[in-house]
């Protein structure tokens, strides 16, 4: 089965790119440790595989076809670390995509990738603990993440509240590392923007009812509600909120940019709901990801972490291309700067973009990857910043309300300090 897949992939490579055929008799493995046994984790893995497929269509990276070896983390740190260790030791991967939860990514980083000199690129781990770890020099430059959104997200939330003239806001947040970070940042950012947070209530996963939490949040009689939740809990909480007479003025984190949430709550209640997200830059190629995704999966790329996962995979593969054949994990990690260079030649997030990047890199140039989450740019700690967008729900999906450029985002965040 697997062999026939190789043969098929090989044949495809030969057929579509005859001139590069001689370079295709090798395979480089890329590791992925993602929670595929969880409902929201599977699409994240799917979209990473999608990026790998696109790169293989462009003739692979570093002269070889790419094979993504996917392991399930089960959102269990023990299982995730074991999977990562097996990928590094048994499959011999030099780069690892994952994990999603910070509580899984962190032990992988501590005990597998950093000791093993393997580059680790997470789509979705948001904990500020990684920034501190990197700043302490404990990640050896091997750690990156494409999840830009905690700081940008809360600042943009403050901007929405200020722009809409909402003076008091209640916050419901997912009770995990991401949600706790968000709640803390929102408290500070909203206060700096002159908006009072009347109450900040943690929402635990998988409760049958959130009446107590919602009642608690309603107690402060806020003009608006901020939701840092995932679709399932978000839907339950918002239903209770509305049924208890809560306001329809809502600010949504990007995790709620999902069709599931829109359909289950009902569009008629979301007329005054504004979401925030990181955005693609305003160039033609930026729609490439969206279009390609729709063609492949038949829906909009809405859901937590999809765009981030795609970019994580794409940047990793670009860096592998830039680092060349037989590069170590550290070489590839160092090459990330070459493919996310703000002064580089812009390339789009699709097969054509990858092909273009290959020729630029072959000529010794650098490229600026314009990805699904925007014009991705990493800082010294492996954290990313990007432009932002304010969006709202429509019949078909979402629409853009306002675009905030990277400069404006930085300026706004600066103004809050």
């Amino acid at each position: 089965m697997r062999k026939s897949f190789y043969v098929a992939a090989f044949a495809l490579g030969v057929a579509s790119l005859g001139s590069e055929a001689q370079a295709q008799d090798c395979t480089i493995k890329v590791g992925a440790a993602l929670p595929t046994s969880v409902d929201w984790g599977r699409p994240i893995a799917e979209v990473a595989q999608f990026a790998v497929d696109q790169v293989n269509d462009a003739g692979g990276a570093a002269g070889c076809q790419i094979e993504m070896v996917l392991r399930d983390t089960q959102v269990d740190p023990k299982v995730g670390v074991d999977a990562a260790k097996a990928l590094v030791d048994l499959e011999g991967v030099n780069v690892l995509l994952g994990a999603v939860s910070s509580g899984v990514s962190m032990p992988i980083l501590n005990s597998v990738t950093v000791p093993g000199g393997v580059m680790q690129m997470s789509c979705c781990s948001s904990s500020t603990a990684f920034t501190k770890l990197a700043a302490d020099g404990k990640t050896n430059g091997l750690w990156y993440r494409t999840f830009a959104t905690t700081a940008v997200q809360s600042a943009m939330g403050a901007k929405v509240a200020a722009d809409q003239g909402w003076k008091t806001v209640a916050v419901l947040y997912k009770n995990d590392d991401w949600g706790q970070d968000m709640a803390r940042l929102i408290e500070a950012d909203f206060a700096a923007a002159g908006v009072t947070v009347t109450g900040s209530v943690a929402i635990n996963d998988a409760q049958p009812s959130y009446r107590a939490e919602v009642t608690d949040a309603l107690g402060g009689q806020p003009e608006a509600l901020y939701l840092a939740l995932y679709p399932t809990e978000g839907t339950s909480a918002v239903r209770e909120w509305l049924s208890l007479g809560g306001t329809q003025n809502m600010i949504l984190a990007n995790s709620l940019k999902s069709d599931e949430f829109r359909e289950n709550v009902g569009l008629q209640y979301l007329g005054n709901a504004f979401g925030t997200d990181t955005a693609s830059p305003r160039v033609e190629s930026a729609d490439a990801f969206r279009a390609a995704y729709q063609e492949r999966f038949g829906s909009e790329p809405n859901g937590p972490g999809l765009a981030n996962s795609y970019d994580a995979a794409m940047i990793t593969l670009l860096a592998m291309e830039a680092a060349g054949k037989d590069a170590s994990g550290a070489d590839i990690a160092a090459a990330v700067a070459k493919v996310t260079d703000p002064n580089g030649i812009p390339v789009s997030a699709d097969t054509a973009g990858f092909t273009a990047a290959k020729s630029v890199l072959a000529g010794g140039g650098t490229v600026m990857y314009q990805g699904a989450t925007g014009n991705v740019r990493f800082d010294a700690n492996g954290d990313v910043s990007a432009p932002a967008v304010v969006w709202s729900f429509t019949d078909e999906g979402t629409q853009e309300v306002e675009y905030v450029s990277l400069e404006d985002v930085d300026a706004f965040i600066e103004s809050l300090k």
């Binding site: 595929t36 996917l70 089960q74 269990d76 023990k78 509580g103 962190m106 000791p115 603990a129 590392d177």
Partner: protein, 325 residues
């Protein structure tokens, strides 16, 4: 080849750490008949205790006392024991399923405190600032893992010896007497409540040791490590290995943890490409099958308890009856 050895060292380390926890549970359930549904509370107490005591100071949460590593590990074990003592005093009058529910509740409460008491435990982000001991001297490559494995195996061996001796001692006989018929034990002048508490606390301290080593190995602990799934995993290991048999407990741990990880590896390697996304779910189904099959066809476990006569003067190792539970 180096990769395979490196992975096996890693695998054995984790399996040996979990074995220690399973041995702790074996003392409680296998020997004393205490249905502890809150294994993760003791495990987590050991891990959090060790990391908070042994870590570098942090501004974001309590702790970071920077104690020497053996002291930190000991502190974690003591913390696990203290927690077990409080829980034990409150709940050990309960029997069987009631005790299971009460201890399960304690474990869930422990996880929630770890998740929400940010000032104390770092909240959902977990405990930071812990360095693996001797990392500066040994680096953190293969050599470190090898030496760590040896240390863990020594700890496992000591716990195993301790429990083997305990089982054949008069105290071990008293534990089994209480397990089989508490009223009869009481009629012979034994104090079941105190003995049960002693066994519960001892087992929990052993689980705390396991948790401390676990936290040390990953240099990190977060609420995600102390979810109820871990209790389930440890129970599955004991049931498959054979409750009441220390060697069986260790064997069961290696077998279940091996199956847990090997199934993931095998599915990733051999499953057809279009099924790759579903291997995580398939794996859960397979593991469920193994445990259900075990309960149906060999409920006493792979290595059933071997009852021994522990009278002074008698041949201690001679099995008198097999397969009795």
């Amino acid at each position: 080849m180096i990769g395979v050895i490196s992975y096996l060292v890693f695998f054995t380390t984790v399996a040996a750490i979990l074995s220690i926890a399973v041995l702790g549970l074996n003392l409680q359930w296998g020997n004393t008949g205490l249905f502890n549904g809150g294994v993760v509370a003791s495990f987590g107490a050991g891990a959090y205790g060790t990391l908070i005591l042994g870590g570098a100071p942090q501004e974001s949460h309590f702790g970071g006392f920077g104690l020497a590593y053996p002291l930190a590990l000991l502190g974690g074990m003591i913390f696990a024991g203290l927690l077990a003592w409080v829980v034990g005093v409150l709940t050990l009058r309960l029997r069987h399923d009631y005790l299971a529910i009460a201890t399960f509740g304690v474990a869930v409460a422990f996880e929630n405190v770890a998740r929400n008491a940010i000032w104390l435990t770092g909240g959902a982000q977990g405990v930071r600032g812990f360095e693996r001991p001797l990392r500066a001297e040994l680096g953190d490559g293969f050599l470190y893992n090898l030496i760590f494995l040896v240390a863990v195996l020594i700890a496992l061996w000591l716990v195993f010896l301790f429990l083997q001796r305990l089982t054949v001692s008069p105290f071990g006989r008293m534990l089994r007497a209480i397990r089989e018929d508490e009223t009869a034990a009481r009629s012979l002048g034994k104090a079941p409540d105190r003995v049960r508490l002693t066994a519960f606390v001892t087992g929990s301290v052993i689980m705390g040791l396991s948790g401390g080593l676990y936290g040390t190995f990953y240099a990190f602990i977060s609420p995600q490590d102390v979810l109820p799934i871990l209790t389930f995993q440890i129970w599955a290991m004991l049931i498959v290995g054979g409750a009441g048999n220390n060697a069986g407990a260790i064997f069961g741990t290696f077998l279940i943890w091996g199956a847990w990880t090997f199934s993931g590896w095998a599915l990733a390697r051999f499953a057809p490409i279009e099924a790759q996304l579903y291997t995580g779910s398939i794996q859960f189904v397979l593991i469920g099958f193994v445990i259900v099959g075990m309960l149906l066809w060999r409920p006493q476990g792979l290595f059933p308890e071997r009852l021994v006569v522990s009278q002074p003067g008698a041949n201690r190792d001679k099995p008198q009856a097999e397969g009795l539970t």
